[in-house]
Amino acid sequence: MFWTHYRLRLKSIVVNRSTFFWCAIFPFILSTLFYISFGSSLSDKSFPPVPAAVVIQGEGEGKTALLSFLKELERQEVLKLTVTGAEEASALLEEERIAGIIEYYDALQLILRSSGIEQSILKSVLDSYQRKSALFADIARENPAGLEAAAGMSAAVFAEDTTLSGRPANSSLQFFYALVAMSCMYASFYGLVMSADLQGNLSPLAVRRTLAPVKRWKMICGDYLAVLTVAVAVLLLLFAYLAFGLGIDFGSHVFLTVFTGIVGCMFGIAFGILLGSSNRQSLSAKIGISVSICMSCCFLAGQMINLIPVLIEKYVPVINRINPAQLIANSFYCLAFYDDYTRYTLNIVTLAVLTIAMGCAGILLMRRKKYASI
C-alpha cells in the first residue's frame, strides 16, 4: 500500500502545473536570465581592482610600511595604484579615473568624491592598515628587514577579511547561490499542497483520505517522501544546469553542496507544512503568503542586491543568522571559497534546527484527529 501511495502521490505532485512551474521551471528561467545579465563577470574570480592614487610626502618608516601594504594589495589585484603628486591625483579624481586618493603627510587620509562599492573597499583598506600600523611601527623599529614581509602578510589577511565579512570573491555568484536558496524555499509549495491534501478541514480530498483506514503517520510519511523526492530531483537538475550548463562554481565539495540543498528543501517543505496546517486560508492565498516570505528571505540573502547581506551583517547580524535563504546561500559560499567548516557547520545546524522545529509543529497540527468544524 505504502509504495502505491508513494508512487501515485509522486505523480500527482509532478503533474500539478502550478507547483511544477514555480518549483521546477521558474528557477531555471531565472538562472538563465541571471546568466544573460552577468555572463562575462562569472568567469572572474574577483571584482576588478579599485583604481586609486597614492600621494605620499616626506620620508620615514610609516611611508615604507604603507607602500609595502598597498603594493601587496595591488599585486593581489585588489587595488590599481597610481603613485603621483597631489595636483595630478586631484585631476584624476575630478575626471573619475580613480575612486579615491590615499594621502599620507603626517597622517593617513582618504579623499573621496562619491560613495559606492569601490569607495567602501578603499575605506576598508585604510581602516585595516590603521588598525595594524602600530604593529608595523614596532617591526620597523626592531626588525626593519621584516617590514615588507609583515605588510605583505597583513595585506593577504585583509584580502581574506574582505571575503569573510561578506563581500563575495565574485559578487555574481551570490545571486546564483541565493537563487538555489530560493528554489529550496519554494519547496514550501509542496508542503502547502501536502497539508491541503492531508488535513480534513482544508479540502474535500483530505476528508476522503482522512476517512480511509490508514494510520495518519503512514499517510504523512508517504506524502512527505513523495514531495521530498520531487523537490530533491528538481534541485539536482538545477545544480546540474547551473554547474554544467552555466558554469557556476560551487567548489569541489559536491557531496556537501548537495547535502546543503537537501537540507534546504527539507526546510522549505517543513515551512510549507506549518504554513498550510496553521490556518484555513485558501491554497492560493497561502501560496501568495509563501511567495512573499520566500522572496523577502531571498532579498535579504542578496538575490536582488548583493550588498544587502553585508549591510545586514554590519547592522543587524542576527537576521543573517536566522534567515534560511541566507543560511543556505552562505553555506554554498563557505563550501565554494573557504576550507574552514566552522561557519558552514553553524549554518547547517541552524537550518536543521529551524527545519525540525517547523516540521514538528506542522505535523502536530496536521495529526489532529478530530475537527471542531469542517
Binding site: H5, R208, L211, P213
Partner: protein
C-alpha cells in the same frame, strides 16, 4: 428485525452559538437505503460528519456496527464508504488511477485492488474514460468518478451526501439506479438530499430533519399518512360561480376547494375514487371544464404540514 448498523442517540453539536444538532437520534438498520431529508443547513452533513468521526460533538453517542465510532477505528472504517457532496479526487491522476488509489487505501492486495477498480469503472460507466483526467470530464461523469472512488472497495455501509447536486437528469437517473443496485448487493446506504423526489424514489425509510432536529421517520407512505389531506386535484375551468363552489366544498370527498385564475383547486380527503366523484358533480351540472390534473401528496406536503414551510424554502 434487521441488526442496527448506525445508532445515534441524543447527539448535540454546537458551532459557537449555533445549535447544529439538537438531541438528534437515529437508528439505521442493515440493508436499508435510509434517506435523510431536510433543507439546506438542516444538519444532514453535520450528522454524517459526526457519525464518521470527522467532527467532534458535544453530547450523545454514536455506534457503527454495534461499536463506538472513533477517529482511529480503522476496522470500522474498512467497512465504510463515503461519497461526499464535493468531488474529492486528485486532478492530476487519471480516472483509473484515482479509483485505484482510493481502493488501495482499503485493500492491501494489489491484484484484488486492480479487479475492484475495474469493477468500479464498469459499474459507474467510466470504462471508456479510464485514461481521462478529472478536468476533462463533464459534471455528471465527475460525480460518477466521485462515486466510483467511494464504492470501489465494496463497503458494507455507504454514506452518500447529496451525490446528485448539479448533475444532469440522465446522469442522476444512472446514479440512482446504481445506488439501488449497490443496495441489492448488500450495502446499507445512508443517502442525504434536499431533493425529495430522489429520496422518495430510492429510500426504503426516510427521516425528515430541520434545524438539527429529527421531525419524523418512516417509510414514504407512513410519512404521507401523517397529513390529513389526500390528493390535490386541479381542474381548468373558464368560469365557476360561488353557488357551485360552495356545493363542491360540501362534497364529502373534498377537504378544501378554491377557485382562482381559471383553475379549480381541490384538496381531497383520504377517501377513494375522489377524482371520479368530483368529475361526476361537474358533468351532472353541465359545468364545462378543460384539463384535469391530480397529484398525490408528496414529502414536501409532509414537510409543510410539520414545519409550516416548504422543503426548498
Amino acid at each position: 428485525m434487521e441488526a442496527s448498523v448506525v445508532k445515534v442517540e441524543n447527539l448535540v453539536k454546537r458551532y459557537k452559538d449555533l445549535l447544529a444538532l439538537d438531541h438528534f437520534s437515529l437508528d439505521i438498520r442493515e440493508g436499508e437505503i435510509f434517506g435523510l431529508l431536510g433543507p439546506n443547513g438542516s444538519g444532514k452533513t453535520t450528522t454524517i460528519n459526526c457519525i464518521l468521526s470527522l467532527l467532534t460533538y458535544d453530547k450523545g453517542s454514536i455506534q457503527v456496527f454495534g461499536r463506538p465510532m472513533k477517529p482511529d477505528s480503522y476496522d470500522l472504517k474498512q467497512e465504510i464508504g463515503v461519497i461526499q457532496q464535493n468531488v474529492a479526487v486528485f486532478d492530476e491522476l487519471t480516472v483509473y488511477e484515482n479509483i485505484y488509489y482510493f481502493c488501495s487505501l482499503y485493500i492491501a492486495d494489489k491484484k484484488r485492488c486492480r479487479v475492484l477498480s475495474e469493477e468500479a469503472l464498469e459499474f459507474t460507466g467510466l470504462t471508456e474514460y479510464r485514461k481521462f483526467r478529472p478536468k476533462k470530464l463533464s459534471g455528471g461523469l465527475l460525480r460518477r468518478l466521485n462515486i466510483a472512488c467511494g464504492i470501489a472497495h465494496k463497503p458494507k455501509l455507504l454514506f452518500m451526501d447529496e451525490p446528485t447536486v448539479a448533475v444532469d437528469p440522465q446522469s442522476r437517473n444512472k446514479i440512482l439506479e446504481g445506488i439501488q443496485e449497490l443496495n441489492k448487493k448488500g450495502a446499507t446506504i445512508v443517502y442525504t438530499s434536499h431533493y425529495m423526489e430522489e429520496v422518495e424514489q430510492i429510500a426504503t425509510r426516510i427521516a425528515i430533519m430541520d434545524k438539527g432536529r429529527m421531525l419524523a421517520v418512516g417509510t414514504a407512505e407512513e410519512l404521507k399518512s401523517m397529513i390529513p389531506a389526500g390528493e390535490t386535484v386541479r381542474i381548468h375551468m373558464l368560469e365557476l360561480d360561488d353557488r357551485h363552489l360552495s356545493a363542491i366544498r360540501g362534497l364529502d370527498c373534498v377537504f378544501s376547494a378554491d377557485y382562482r385564475d381559471e383553475d379549480l383547486i381541490i384538496q381531497c380527503t383520504r377517501g377513494r375514487h375522489n377524482l371520479m366523484r368530483i368529475l361526476e358533480y361537474l358533468t351532472s351540472h353541465d359545468l364545462i371544464f378543460g384539463e384535469v390534473y391530480s397529484q398525490l401528496p408528496t414529502l414536501n406536503d409532509v414537510f409543510l404540514e410539520i414545519t409550516g414551510k416548504q422543503l426548498r424554502d
